[in-house]
């Protein structure tokens, strides 16, 4: 779960990091007032849960309070489309108004899970503000990584290695080491997956400054961190995806015309792949999961069809934990609430397949049954009007 920059900075402040003076504005007027208070120039930073804000125009500099008001009124209420948001972009509901500060140098500083090495990693780069992955491809010599494990934590000598690699001035080394200690403890305590301070800066007044911050918490751990779960900004989520989450469904909106309802993430991906293989375009990824209820299936099916881009639908179930009859009942429950005005191809296999098929057949509704995976995909593509 990503949180906003201003939320991440609140945590950093509690952890003893210096951040530029700033406050949140939800209206252009407030932005102007804050610009006056903080003193111009100020940065206006769109609070959306996606990277690439700068290139997308989501971060603007205002030299006067009036300019701040003007820029803010343009940004607030708009949808920001960055390289990471998809075509619909994300709504800009608030701006962080932040004093622009002169910087001597900018760095990158991050803590992350290294899944390949099955450990944690602290990463710094001598160049900040850029995408660390691109940098590690093009300029690996600017980057230093230190691995540490979640039980032992990041040691002070390791932070010192990072500080000296960055060639921080000596008076900032101790600050950095002390702050990294608390930062890594926070990372562990709060179950983060990724924490980035980018740029971390050496300011003109010789301070160590966290200019931008990004924190991604492990969704699986939110059950033990209710205080974090409360930080979720649902306005940044797709309406359909939000509805899906409420029922424990994994739904992701795509741009095609074939709605998919599948059990299992792998089979759902494969279903998307095969649709494309036969020339179609999937409208979504939808995994109903293993512990699904009839009610959730019903919601899933309704959700699927509530996407107006969907021309045909494909139900692809290989029953294991999930029983075909349960899926069938869920689908019928949805069909009783909404009109089934688009063709639905059904492929059932595995646990209780006969019972599932019987339920759907006896409903009298116009389901189109496929004998196997390939036939199901071909039919769905055909019916979507994009035959091979």
């Amino acid at each position: 779960m990503l949180i906003h920059e201003f939320q991440a900075k609140n945590f950093l402040r509690e952890l003893g990091w210096r951040i530029p003076a700033s406050a949140l504005a939800e209206s252009a007027k407030e932005a102007k007032r804050l610009a006056i208070e903080l003193g111009c120039p100020v940065m206006l930073k769109a609070q959306v849960l996606a990277g690439g804000r700068g290139q997308a125009g989501g971060v603007q500099k205002a030299s006067t309070p009036e300019e701040a008001e003007r820029l803010a009124s343009r940004l607030l209420g708009s949808r920001l489309i960055t390289a990471q948001t998809g075509a619909q972009g994300l709504p800009v509901n608030s701006l962080l108004v932040e004093k622009a500060i002169g910087l001597k140098k900018e760095y990158y500083c991050g803590l992350a899970v290294d899944r390949r090495n099955e450990t944690l990693v602290a990463i710094v780069s001598r160049q900040g503000g850029l995408n660390i992955e691109e940098l590690s491809g093009s300029r690996p010599e600017l980057i230093k990584k230190i691995y540490f494990d979640p039980d032992g934590g990041l040691k002070q000598f390791q932070s010192r290695q990072l500080a000296y690699f960055l060639e921080l001035p000596e008076n900032l080394v101790k600050d950095f080491v002390a702050r990294m200690k608390r930062l890594s403890e926070f990372f562990l305590e709060k179950d983060l997956k990724l924490l980035e301070i980018n740029p971390l800066a050496w300011s003109e007044d010789d301070q160590l400054l966290a200019v931008d911050a990004r924190m991604d918490f492990d969704d699986c751990s939110l059950a033990r961190h209710p205080e974090l779960a409360a930080l979720r900004d649902e306005s940044q989520e797709n309406e359909l995806e939000k509805r899906a989450r409420r029922f424990g469904l994994n739904y992701l909106k795509m741009n095609g015309s074939i709605g998919c309802l599948v059990n299992g993430a792998g089979l759902a991906m494969a279903t998307m792949d095969i649709i494309q293989h036969f020339g179609g375009q999937p409208a979504n990824f939808l995994d109903i999961g293993g512990g699904v209820t009839e009610e959730a299936v019903s919601q899933a099916f309704e959700l699927l069809l509530s996407d107006s881009q969907v021309v045909s639908a494909l139900i692809n179930i290989f029953g294991g934990i999930v029983r075909c009859d349960l899926v069938a009942r869920g689908v019928l429950a949805a069909a009783s609430r909404i009109s089934l005005n688009r063709p639905v191809v059904v492929r059932l296999e595995g646990t209780n397949v006969a019972e599932g098929r019987r339920i759907l057949e006896e409903s009298g509704l116009p389901f189109i049954f496929a004998a196997d995976f390939e036939q199901a995909a071909r039919l769905a593509v055909e019916l979507s009007g994009q035959p091979r």
Binding site: E133, D149, G264, G266, L267, F318
Partner: protein
């Protein structure tokens, strides 16, 4: 011979008395799996499904000497269940639990490494050596004893693959779901190595997906080892958008890493037969095997 489990494997069920565990334990018993005990703290001394229940894995190991444990516990208890089994001397742990926090799993992995324990999962359907033992939640009836080894990051997609193979008359030596999480125990490399020396196995089908580096590591291993058996691979998620998690916590294309295209290229270079159409896993395997003596 199969790999990892066979008809003699003595299996413990952690969390046995829970609803899901009870359901799947029954299916395993029906399949012929040699379940010997269960563990549920506070229910020690009870008998459940005819199996003795213990308060701790340690007690179960002392009394019934299981070598394998299958874990059905809530997500926040998952890592401790793995550690407990590892410390008690269990040599193969199969963790079905989905949604274990990532840092918990890093800690659990240190334990399984320290104790030299093989871990399958978490978030896996488990594994099956058809006709011998099923330690998992897959539908047993779609499997047949045979010579194809399967290693998969996915659940239902594995059932699909197995079903296709069985339909084509191809049985399986062992089918292993390695789990869909970012951090799991045994991965393609270790299991390919086990299949390499398994006499029953004539070919291996890998089912990969986007995210992580396990397929790339497998490609490197296959190339370096001069792998002696034919390997086929399907990699799911070609249509996946970068930065979006597709169900599995591990299935995400991060930055430049983990795309299906990259994985497929690397595997193809390593001599792996790439399957483009996931409905033809069975067919292509049959073709490949019939082309060989």
């Amino acid at each position: 011979m199969s790999i990892l489990i066979d008809a003699n494997s003595r299996v413990l069920v952690q969390g046995l008395t829970g609803k899901e565990a009870t359901f799947h334990a029954q299916r395993m018993l029906e399949y012929g799996t040699r379940l010997v005990a269960g563990v549920t703290p506070g229910k020690g001394g009870q008998v459940h499904l005819g199996l003795p229940v213990f308060n701790t894995v340690e007690e179960a190991v002392r009394a019934e000497a299981p070598e394998v444990s299958i874990i059905f516990v809530p997500p926040l208890a998952g890592a401790e269940a793995i550690m407990e089994a590892a410390e008690a001397g269990i040599k193969l742990i199969v963790c079905i639990t989905e949604g274990i926090p990532l840092l918990d799993m890093l800690r659990a992995r240190s334990w399984t490494k320290k104790y030299g324990t093989n871990l399958i999962g978490p978030n896996t359907p488990g594994l099956i050596s058809p006709g011998q033992s099923k330690v998992g939640i897959m539908p047993g009836h779609i499997h047949r004893t045979g010579s194809v080894g399967i290693i998969s990051r996915s659940g239902t997609l594995t059932y699909e693959a197995v079903n296709q193979l069985t339909t084509m008359g191809l049985g399986q030596s062992t089918a292993v779901g390695i789990g869909g999480d970012p951090v799991v125990g045994l991965k393609f490399v270790e299991l390919l190595e086990m299949f390499r020396t398994d006499e029953q196995t004539r070919a291996v089908v890998m089912i990969g997906e986007i995210g992580g580096q396990a397929e790339e590591d497998a490609a490197d291993y296959l190339k370096a080892s001069g792998y002696p058996k034919p390997v086929l691979a399907y990699v799911a998620g070609r249509t996946a958008p970068p930065g979006k998690r597709l169900g599995h916590a591990g299935a995400i294309i991060e930055g430049r890493q983990g795309s299906a295209g990259d994985k497929i290229d690397r595997l193809r270079e390593a001599g792996v037969k790439i399957i483009d159409n996931p409905a033809r896993i069975g067919l292509m395997t049959a073709e490949l095997l019939s082309a060989r003596p």
